[in-house]
């Protein structure tokens, strides 16, 4: 059986290697990806349309807003599914866990605890910067949300799961995750109500009279990034908290 697998791998790998020749060179301006009118439009019109220097964010949050919205929904569904599967498999009774009363940092290492106490505020501040500055520099809702969730996971690793759950109990993180999706789709619905297409942010300029359509797009991108960050950070912490405690949200690593 192993030999069949080896032959299949060698055959497939050979096919892929032989196709390498037809690939365009790195940075080739005439490659199909770069020469298509769609890419040309993004490259030439992003600043004009939305005034956002980071083209990647403009594509993610504005031109292809649907993709990002449903990616956020996928993250939400994945988190909910992990929680559900772990609890059904382990027979944990339903309903939200009450937040446990627990003394902080008695059984854990003082060096790790102190390091994390110094590190976590910096991490969270950096996460907020990444979220808020995502349309001007690399970053955005996904990355910032993951860093924010990681700071809570760091609390859980350093001090135990219970103190972390005291700060972000189950009721709160599930709510946060749904609020994120509601924020994102709320921007879309607001555009619909003002008589434009779903997630066509330009029309939102009527809400803030001092800005034009391009600025409205830029600010709306920030808004939807915040929504993405809510969902992603809450779900990342939810996945860790449930996996580390087999869905019981007690003890943990």
């Amino acid at each position: 059986m192993k030999w069949v697998g080896l032959i299949a791998v060698i055959f497939t790998g050979g096919l892929l290697l032989s196709a390498m020749d037809d690939f365009p060179n790195w940075g080739d301006a005439h490659s199909p990806a770069n020469a298509s009118p769609v890419s040309q439009y993004y490259i030439e019109k992003t600043i004009e349309d939305s005034g956002v220097p980071n083209m990647v964010t403009a594509v993610l949050a504005d031109y292809r807003g649907y993709d990002t919205m449903f990616e956020t929904v996928v993250v939400l569904i994945a988190g909910i599914a992990i929680m559900a599967i772990l609890r059904v498999m382990n027979g944990v009774p339903g309903g939200a866990r009450p937040s446990p009363a627990h003394e902080i940092g008695d059984q854990h290492d003082i060096i790790i605890g102190t390091t994390c106490r110094l590190l976590i505020p910096v991490l969270q501040l950096f996460a907020l910067y990444v979220i808020a500055h995502g349309h001007h520099s690399p970053g955005g809702g996904f990355q910032g949300g993951v860093i924010l969730g990681a700071s809570f996971i760091l609390t859980a690793i350093a001090k135990g799961l219970d103190p972390a759950l005291e700060r972000l109990p189950e009721k709160r993180y599930v709510k946060l995750a749904f609020v994120g999706v509601v924020i994102y789709s709320g921007f879309g619905v607001a555009c619909l109500l003002l008589g434009e297409n779903f997630l066509d942010y330009g029309v939102l300029q009527v809400l803030l009279p001092t800005i034009d359509a391009a600025e409205a797009r830029s600010h709306s991108m920030l808004g939807v990034e915040v929504g993405v960050a809510f969902t992603v950070s809450a779900i990342m912490f939810a996945i860790y908290a449930n996996l580390a405690s087999k869905g019981e949200l007690e003890g943990g690593l």
Binding site: F142, G149, A150, I239
Partner: protein, 81 residues
């Protein structure tokens, strides 16, 4: 991109990929897998795809390694094959 760095990163990429598949200790495999993600992140950063590199660094090298380790902790540490 500097091609010498590329070659070094690609060699380490193959090494980490093979190790994370072959090693019997699943905890070690998860950590090597995080290293693999970080090397890919370096490659993307070198190619100028900074947003993708950032996502790979946070999601691939950061969170998914932690989640895999949490899973290993609650299941079994040794691989069965």
């Amino acid at each position: 991109m500097i091609w010498q760095f590329d070659i070094i990163i690609l060699i380490f990429l193959v090494i980490t990929a093979v190790i994370s598949l072959r090693v019997k200790d699943l905890l070690a495999a998860s950590m090597v897998f995080g290293t693999y993600s970080f090397l890919i992140c370096l490659l993307w950063a070198g190619m100028g795809a900074v947003d993708v590199a950032f996502t790979e660094a946070t999601v691939g090298a950061g969170i998914s390694a932690v989640i895999l380790i949490a899973t290993v902790y609650n299941t079994r540490r040794d691989s069965s094959d």
